[in-house]
């Protein structure tokens, strides 16, 4: 192999905290790398030795089944050893105790920490406390960068591009880290983003991030190439900012009638798990326009890429 290495590597980050930090080139580089990792999951031996001897710790202080499983599988397909540390902590005892916990875990020889926490900035905070790689798997309402990346990856895969697409994100934007990460990534890559939902859940302040904000879902349907339906977070329905669920579904649910008014090739996305018949009708969720399961499959490749790239950056830092 006489392949010359590129003069300046595109990716030099050992942490992934938020898409806001990344340049469009960096985002595209992760997507391209993920493209290469997709094939690994189709082999008879679904494993490559890239992270052999490395140890990955999943640290989930907030419930998650699929994201943790996706990260675990991604790490295992790269031949890393994976350990799990999961604990519910009260929000009062976070701060120092999270740092202490992380230092203790790092002392056992961990190379990569994958952190989900209910408090915004938790992953970022950990980078001050430990030397190892830190991957944000969701921090409060702030960011969920790998979800953003896998959504971008899926849109590019299905639509062939991202630039110039009209993308709507519908639902409880204010409380959604998925919406924030998607929005950041989409705007950076040149999509036109519209945020849809009741005014209490879609504050006008989002216009400063480059999005259009509206509460009229029906009006924008015909022009959309992609519609990402956020999950109704049941726990918020009782709060004063959330209208009654019936009212919400009537105004912002994706049903057969609304679907009829969309472009025939509209891509319907959902970060899962779907409340069937609520924000999204079951037959649309299972229909040919839906990419819900594709998003899950792609999530694995994207997380493999993120783990690999961050680990390579950390290795380079150590060797200099």
């Amino acid at each position: 192999m006489s392949d010359a290495a590129p003069e300046k590597p595109v990716w030099t980050r050992k942490h992934l905290l938020a898409l806001n930090d990344l340049s469009p080139e960096e985002i595209l580089y992760v997507l391209d790398t993920a493209e290469s990792f997709k094939e690994v999951s189709t082999r008879s031996v679904k494993k490559v030795p890239a992270l052999r001897g490395r140890v990955v710790c999943t640290m989930f202080f907030e419930d998650s089944t699929r994201t943790r499983m996706s990260f675990t599988l991604a790490a295992q397909r790269l031949s890393a050893d994976v350990v799990d540390f999961s604990a519910k902590v009260s929000s009062a005892s976070k701060g120092e105790s999270l740092r202490d916990t992380a230092r203790n875990i790092e002392a056992m020889g961990i190379d990569i920490m994958i952190v989900r926490h209910s408090s915004a900035g938790a992953a970022n905070d950990l980078t001050q406390a430990v030397d190892c790689c830190v991957i944000n798997a969701g921090d409060g309402q702030h960011a969920h960068p790998t979800q953003g990346l896998l959504d971008l990856f899926t849109i590019r895969e299905r639509k062939g591009r991202i630039e110039g697409l009209n993308v709507a994100i519908a639902g409880d934007i204010a409380h959604s880290r998925v919406a924030r990460s998607d929005l950041r990534g989409l705007v950076k890559l040149g999509a036109n983003v519209t945020l849809v939902g009741p005014p209490t859940l879609v504050p006008r302040s989002f216009e400063q991030l480059g999005a259009r904000v509206t509460s009229n879902f029906d009006e924008i349907l015909p022009e959309m190439d992609v519609i990402n339906m956020l999950r109704i977070q049941q726990e918020r329905i009782t709060s004063s900012v959330f209208p009654s669920i019936r009212e919400y579904i009537r105004l912002f649910g994706m049903n057969a009638e609304r679907f009829q008014r969309c472009k025939p090739d509209v891509l319907i996305m959902h970060p899962g798990p779907v409340n069937r018949g609520k924000e999204l009708a079951a037959d649309i969720a299972d229909g040919p326009n839906s990419s819900i399961l594709r998003q899950v499959t792609n999530g694995l490749a994207v997380r493999m890429a993120v783990l690999f790239l961050c680990q390579q950056a950390a290795a380079a830092e150590k060797s200099t």
């Binding site: 008879s44 031996v45 030795p49």
Partner: protein, 173 residues
């Protein structure tokens, strides 16, 4: 800078290699050709056509990216660019010709062999390289060689192919 092969010589060399491979290929097994990214991939493409001229039609071909299998991954850092493997056939029981441009330390081929093992159990794997420059660090030997060229560790053998580099030639500096 010394030219080892010009365009005409390079093409003639590949044609000879194709004839040798065709002669060695068993009649009772499917022949597969797999190139190592990236110059090996291009050479494999050319060999496919030349093999057909020589009377052997490979049943399968593919591309192997060995990046994730390199033994120096931890030291090369972000310079490791993953470009992906494309082997969409079962290599089990095939007579597989692995193609690379330059054989040097043997470490790339070690990585390639480990990677191929993850795809199945070939009946046999044969190694075809355009240039064998010696200086092996692992016990790996080629089966089909375009050119044997003695070299020193501080020299560089550069294979240029028109599909990638706009010109066909092999140089040493």
């Amino acid at each position: 800078m010394k030219t080892l092969l010009n365009a005409k010589e390079l093409q003639a060399t590949l044609a000879r290699m194709a004839r040798e491979i065709a002669q060695a290929a068993p009649r009772d097994a499917e022949v597969a050709v797999v190139g190592v990214r990236r110059r090996g991939e291009t050479l494999a493409q050319r060999l496919l056509a030349l093999l057909a001229d020589a009377g052997v039609k490979p049943a399968h071909h593919g591309v192997l990216d060995i990046t994730l299998y390199r033994d120096d991954l931890t030291t090369i850092g972000p310079a490791a660019v993953v470009r992906g493997t494309e082997i969409d056939f079962d290599i089990t029981d095939t007579w597989l010709v692995l193609v690379d441009d330059v054989l040097y330390t043997g470490r790339s081929i070690r990585a390639a062999l480990t990677a191929l093992t993850d795809f199945g159990r070939a009946r046999a794997i044969r190694l075809a390289v355009l240039v064998d420059r010696g200086l092996r660090e692992l016990p790996i030997q080629p089966d089909f060689v375009g050119l044997r060229q003695e070299s020193t560790p501080d020299s560089e053998v550069i294979v240029k192919l028109s599909e990638v580099d706009g010109v066909d030639e092999v140089e040493m500096e």
